[in-house]
């Protein structure tokens, strides 16, 4: 171990954003896991659909209002989300933290609309297999809404409490990446729940 040549790493920075951060890769793994969950639920939906002659079987399709409202709202939430993400990326803590707060309020509104959505599905989970999978799909996505709101609130709490350092900024960036996943997942789920029963 009398190495004559050395590599000095003392000059390296203490944090890295984006795909330089281990956290990003952990986040991608989590998105892969949960994305696989969505894909399998979608496959289950289509499989059950292929087993019966009429779809939805014996019940009207879900009412469009709340789900579509949610679709519009969740797509628009990309705006504050992107602002927050960029602010944290350039270590602008004032905008990053207030952006995070706005995102939380926005997501709480989405949760409220989601609550109404369940009532507008026009089927219960124990009515038939169609009802079961529709509730499972919507419930699975709702779990993502709720957990994201919860962990955003904890993140905001930590940010306000301090220290508001680079690590916290990386956390806020990755939280925003996760929210993009929640947005992206809603599009196919919306199509399955609201559009699929209306096309033969």
């Amino acid at each position: 171990m009398n190495g004559s040549r050395t590599l000095d790493v003392a000059h390296l920075p203490d944090i890295g954003f984006g795909d330089r951060s281990p956290l990003r890769w952990g986040m991608l793994a989590m998105i892969a896991i949960e994305g696989a969950g969505f894909a399998l639920l979608a496959a289950t939906y289509l499989y059950l659909r292929s087993r019966v002659p009429h779809w939805p079987p014996g019940v009207p399709p879900p009412s469009l209002l709340y789900g579509t409202l949610n679709l519009g709202m969740i797509l628009l939430s990309a705006v504050p989300n992107e602002i927050t993400k960029r602010a944290s990326r350039r270590m602008d803590s004032a905008i990053a933290v207030s952006g995070l707060a706005i995102c939380i309020v926005w997501a709480l509104v989405l949760c409220a609309i989601r609550f109404l959505e369940f009532g507008a599905l026009n089927v219960n989970y124990d009515t038939n297999a169609y009802g079961s999978i529709v509730w499972f799909l919507l419930g699975y996505h709702t779990t993502h809404l709720i957990t994201d709101v919860a962990d955003s609130m904890v993140l905001l709490w930590f940010a306000l409490r301090g220290p508001l350092d680079g690590h916290r900024m990386v956390d806020i960036t990755e939280n925003a990446v996760y929210w993009y996943f929640v947005i992206a997942a809603w599009i196919p789920v919306y199509l399955l729940i609201y559009v699929a029963p209306r096309i033969v």
């Binding site: 004559s4 003392a10 890295g16 289950t44 220290p163």
Partner: protein
């Protein structure tokens, strides 16, 4: 570099090692024991716990063999027998095979890639506790006569609300949630460790093949395990709140269960199998004393096996009356997987051909693989044909086949690898003499147990029957299989004696007792808490062999748990990162999560109120600690070396 730095240098290095040792030490006391985050500690716990479950599962196998040794025995009744084979399969798959493979990955991968720590160590600790609690939950339930009894795949409608009265099927379904959650978080950590924690210069094409196999396995876990979690959740929902996923009468479909289960279940076989292929490459390389032949081909085989494994699941369902076109597709895919497997075997044969075999115990296990796995592979190709599959479906032929594949393809390499890495894990050498005895007993016992089962299956003996009448011509072969089972038990006992003896009296292991080429052998046995100091720069594959005087890293802090983050593909320097300190919160969170999981068997509201303690646990876990500011690093060595 000064003219003569030798007298001063060790002292500076020693001082730094002392400081690093203090920085990376676990907290003392029983709280510290519950708070451990060192990947070597967690890895050892995973391996030890998994082996304990292996022993329990093996005990069940012995009971089953005793029951079947003679016709019309009354040692156990049908109900207990159903629990025995269900518990045996579930234990071996979920509580032994996957966790032990992951445990070795947790313990060895960070060392093999030259890292100071595993990524997300608290998550790995959480994964261990979830695994342990899930296993205890299953076995305590079994002890209370609520052990699952529907087979390790828990088919509906047998496991559904109409036939599966009581809580037995729920215990199985929730045990799945425990172990799969554990598997998923560990897979995440292994992937990130491999992508971001590799030593500088260890580009992906210089990475040890075992790390590659763990990477592909972890990727498969991410995609496969959600399937069984979706399935088991739907099963619990059907049973608890009367949903109709699998209820034919209300538009559900029992076959949906089989699709979801086997979309997980077949990749699961490869999740167990691929790390063992990595072990084979490792053992063959070390015990032939030269770099493995066909590195690129071996890596591509692992990756392509990982992909093809997702296109095979329907071959478990050939007897369910699926459309013939579909069956043909899955027959073709099932046969296609023989291509990468065959490629690997030819690479290994070429390696052995060109090298000189050292006849150590681990190599014996590796060589046994060729015979045992070949037999399992051949019957696999046979079973891929629908016509033959229909003939022997649900007979002992299938039991023989998958034990040849799983034990031959996984357990033999695993036992070899455990013998091989034992010095690195514990600092002691296993006895070669006892090792050879255990191997010989296992090899003979295994073939004696399972080879006759091929014939039993062809003679028509079905699986999962608790007894059989005399006069069918099955007696002799069954007795032979039971005798073989006794030898296997003896082999495992011998292995255990070897381990206990080595831990007490075994010779202390040198850093590189097998003269191997990969990085885990470049540090002490057992390695210090910080794994490497100095961290090494990698300039080629098997750098212990090819680079005896490596470039070393300076400038990492000794005062905080600093790890080096590198780029995904080429492992160029990126940044320094502080690894989390020990914490009790992963343990607390695991307890809270266990309460939620077990509660939700009884009431859906457990998910609601149970999530509150889980949230508290997570908040404590991520509570902003006093992240120390980056220190001016390692002054002593820098100054002395650059003087």
């Amino acid at each position: 570099m000064s003219a003569d730095p030798q007298p001063a240098q060790p002292t500076a290095l020693d001082r730094e090692r002392t400081e690093l040792g203090a920085t990376w030490a676990e907290t003392p006391g029983w709280m510290g024991w519950l708070s451990a985050v060192d990947h070597k500690t967690i890895g050892r716990r995973f391996i030890l716990t998994a082996i304990a479950f292996f022993a329990l599962g093996g005990l069940l196998a012995v009971l089953m063999r005793l029951q079947l040794a003679r016709p019309e025995q009354r040692l156990v009744d049908a109900d207990l027998y159903n629990q025995l084979f269900t518990m045996h399969g579930s234990t071996m798959m979920f509580l032994f095979a996957v966790p032990v493979m992951e445990g070795l990955g947790i313990a060895m991968v960070p060392l093999m890639v030259g890292a100071r720590a595993i990524a997300f160590p608290r998550l790995v600790a959480f994964g261990y506790w979830m695994f342990l609690f899930g296993g205890l939950f299953l076995w305590i339930s079994f002890a209370l006569n609520i052990g699952p009894d529907n087979g390790w795949f828990s088919y509906v409608p047998l496991a559904g609300p109409a036939y599966g009265a009581g809580k037995r099927a729920d215990v199985w379904a929730q045990m799945i949630t425990f172990t799969e959650l554990s598997g998923l978080v560990v897979a995440t950590s292994i992937i990130v460790t491999i992508f971001k924690y590799r030593a500088p210069g260890m580009s992906l094409d210089r990475m040890p093949i075992f790390a590659w196999s763990e990477l592909v396995t972890a990727g498969m876990i991410l995609i496969a395990m959600p399937a069984v979690m979706v399935a088991s959740t739907a099963l619990i929902l059907d049973r608890l709140i009367a949903t109709h996923f699998f209820n034919q009468a209300e538009g559900g479909d029992p076959l949906l269960w089989q699709h979801l289960f086997w979309f997980f279940g077949h990749p699961e076989v490869y999740i167990i199998f691929l790390p063992a292929q990595g072990m084979m490459s490792t053992l063959i390389q070390t015990f032939t004393g030269r770099p493995i032949y066909g590195y690129i081909a071996l890596v591509l085989s692992l990756v392509s096996t990982g992909f093809i494994a997702f296109g095979l699941w329907v071959h478990h369902m050939f007897a369910t009356g699926l459309p013939q076109v579909g069956e043909s597709f899955f027959t073709a895919a099932s046969m296609m997987i023989a291509i990468p497997s065959g490629l690997q075997i030819f690479c290994w044969i070429a390696s052995i051909w060109r090298g000189r075999i050292q006849w150590k115990t681990p190599m014996l296990y590796a060589l046994a693989y060729f015979f045992v796995f070949l037999v399992g592979g051949l019957t696999g190709v046979m079973l891929a044909a629908v016509s033959l599959d229909l003939q022997v479906h649900d007979t002992f032929f299938v039991v023989a086949h998958f034990h040849y594949v799983l034990i031959g393809g996984s357990i033999f390499p695993l036992f070899g690898a455990l013998h091989y890495w034992f010095p690195k894990l514990t600092g002691r050498m296993l006895s070669e003499r006892l090792g050879v005895i255990a191997f010989t007993l296992l090899f003979i016992g295994f073939n004696l147990t399972f080879f006759p089962m091929h014939q039993l299956g062809l003679l028509g003996m079905p699986r999962r029957v608790y007894t059989y009448p005399a006069g069918l011509g099955w007696e002799g072969l069954n007795l032979l299989a039971t005798a073989g089972g006794a030898l296997m038990a003896l082999a495992v006992i011998t292995y255990a004696i070897n381990v206990v003896w080595a831990l007490r009296r075994g010779t202390h292991a040198a850093a590189n007792p097998w003269n191997a080429g990969t990085l885990e052998w470049a540090t002490a046995s057992p390695p210090p808490a910080y794994n490497f100091h100095p961290v090494l720069v990698v300039r080629g594959r098997d750098s212990v062999w090819t680079d005896p005087d490596p470039i070393t890293v300076i400038g990492l802090s000794c005062a905080r748990r600093e790890v080096l983050i590198t780029r995904v593909v080429d492992a160029n320097l990126d940044h320094r990162f502080e690894s989390p300190t020990p914490s009790i919160w992963p343990f607390i969170t695991a307890i809270a999560t266990s309460i939620l999981f077990i509660g939700s068997i009884f009431t859906p509201w457990a998910v609601v109120w149970g999530s509150i303690p889980v949230a508290i646990g997570l908040i404590g876990w991520f509570w902003p600690g006093s992240k120390s500011a980056p220190q001016e690093p390692t002054g002593a060595v820098i100054r002395e070396r650059l003087a």
